[in-house]
Amino acid sequence: MENAWLIPLFPLLSFLLLLLIGKRLREASAYVGILLTLASLVFSILVLFERFSEPTYMAKVNWLTIGEVHLTAGFEVNQLNALMLFIVSLVSFLVHTYSKGYMQGDERFHVFYAYLGLFTFAMLGLVISPNILQTYIFWELVGVGSFLLIGFYFYKEEAKAAAKKAFIMTRIGDVGLFIGMILLFWQTQSFEYSEIFKAVEAGSVSNTMITLTAILIFIGAIGKSGQFPLHTWLPDAMEGPTPVSALIHAATMVAAGVYLVAALFPLFLASKTALLTVAVIGGFTAIFAASIGLVQTDIKRVLAYSTVSQLGYMMLALGCGGYVAGVFHLMTHAFFKALLFLAAGSVIHAVHTQNIEEMGGLWKKLKLTAPLFLIGTLAISGVPGLSGFFSKDEILVAAWEGGHPVLFLLALIAAFMTAFYMFRLFFMVFTGDARSEQRDVNESPSVMTLPMVLLGILAVVAGYINTPWFGSFLGDWLVDGNPILGAAHIEGPAWIMIAATVVSLAGILFAYFIYGKRSIAPDWLSGKGDMLHTVVSNKYYIDEFYQMTVVAIVTGFSYFLRLIDTFLVEGIVKGVVGFVQGLGRTGAKMQSGQVQTYGAVAFLGLAVLAVIYALTGGYLR
């Protein structure tokens, strides 16, 4: 564990190498990226196994000394960090491998791998930071990586706009995080997580301040994790290459917000208001995004809204005090959502469209992708036996036992919607009639399918490390030594599990009847609530609302500032310039070349000096 700091450095090395010699390596850059992330993965697994038996390891060096304040930099391997290291490096490695097939033939192949390396470095650095300042630095670096990768196809207008939108939206959240961080430092004189928790526990920080800082930090998490009301960037971010969507906008970066709340969980626990805020935002986002997902027609956008919704689930779990449930769902979600995205990428790779209305009947043609997609769909829908079932059950129990029956109900409805829209997606893509224009549909190469197979296995079995039936290994381990984080496993009434199962099966059946068997017409519901359907398929007009309010106000203000700039600032500048130029012109006129004028002026000067001499007696008193 002493060498855990090496883990982020491998991808950094990959980034630097590919920057320097990527152009010459071309397609061989993939091997650099894959090998170096494999090294990270191996180290992460070693660290994870070491952490099972050993206590938390932490190392730091003095970074800056300002007066009495010492800022440190270092790394920490606690349970959460070790788990995140494993998840991030695993998904990153698989995506690196997958991209070798997916991005083949791209002109900027090596640049893509360089950016992936940069992002992986930042994300791994983020999850081993022992203090909030270091976290913040990596937090922003992750944002840069995301920006570069969303805008990878920068010649497409939409991709450019999406990259900018993602960066600006997350920055809005980051301002909250930044202010929260500074306030925490002001209150506790330290950026260290451990020092902050000590101060909070000792009660040296006022309750109002704890609530305020926790909510400000949560605003940062809202931005990064695409929670309402800053969620609009995440679906647009799907303009990036699909492997990027799998890595950044499903499994890792967007989970950073959840990670941040989990890492600062003792701070949130100290404030009921902050916890409630987290829970309400999470619960609302879960159902809100799920309802938009019901009507989207772009395969990646459906998955994107599903990601937003699932992240809402995690926030809901954390807000209800279900630390284990939230982190557990983070892990299982990383696996099955990465699987779904990679499978979606494989589908797009085969049929060259993202519109699900133009797909159909792909089950027979994509012999490997289709079953894997089905596994992911089953897992996210919460069908018993797969990983998503166990983690979702934990969350529902946490919400119920946390005393939030309304949020519990919201989560249950969201679970129904999740099952429905995921199977709507599945049936529309893989069953039904094949479209005539899809003649040469081929299965993706094995370099793309192998990572999917591995993720598929994980999506099935990952749930069994924390189940109500066989014991909660993950939960026991996560809260070991930190009783403040809450119980390892929350016991809930048995009917919750049954309800969750019924709800998800109902969603699947409903989707089957509409899109599989087609015994119910697809416009059965949308035909009845025409207005509602329009509103939902326009994503509740959130984008339009922002366009009309925030963007309009900011643009108006900018125009006003530009007026000040053109007339006031530029006026002053022009005045100064004119004055100096006039002075220069007058001075130049005096240099007439007339010797006699010079002589006259010199004599006049001499006369003046003589007068002064006569009056003052030689020197000025």
């Binding site: 240099q591 070349g593 007339q594 006699q596 002589g599």
Partner: protein
């Protein structure tokens, strides 16, 4: 001779100097300007001789300086006229206001 006071000599020198200065600064013809400068130099010479006789501590030094100034003025006049000749050949004029090559 002592009936003529020192102030009379000094007044003469002053008048001579002023005439010279006026000529040097106003006349267009460069020859006149040069002559005016000679006039100013000679006004100075009168001053030097006056103070050598009526000064606080009279000595021969003033007269020596006057002789020096005359010698230098003679040389200067020669050089000045030579330059003037060269200028005239180049520019076909002796008017000083047309010789404005020193402009910026």
């Amino acid at each position: 001779m002592s009936s003529v006071p020192a102030s009379a000599f000094l007044a003469l020198a002053l008048i001579l100097f002023c005439i010279g200065l006026y000529g040097a600064l106003t006349k267009r013809n460069t020859v006149i300007v040069l002559i005016s400068i000679e006039l100013m130099l000679n006004a100075v010479n009168i001053n030097l001789v006056t103070f050598s006789k009526y000064g606080v501590s009279p000595s021969i030094n003033g007269q020596v300086f006057a002789l020096f100034a005359m010698a230098v003025a003679a040389a200067e006049a020669a050089v000045g006229l030579a330059i003037l000749m060269a200028l005239y050949r180049n520019k076909k004029t002796v008017h000083i206001d047309e010789m404005n090559e020193m402009k910026h």
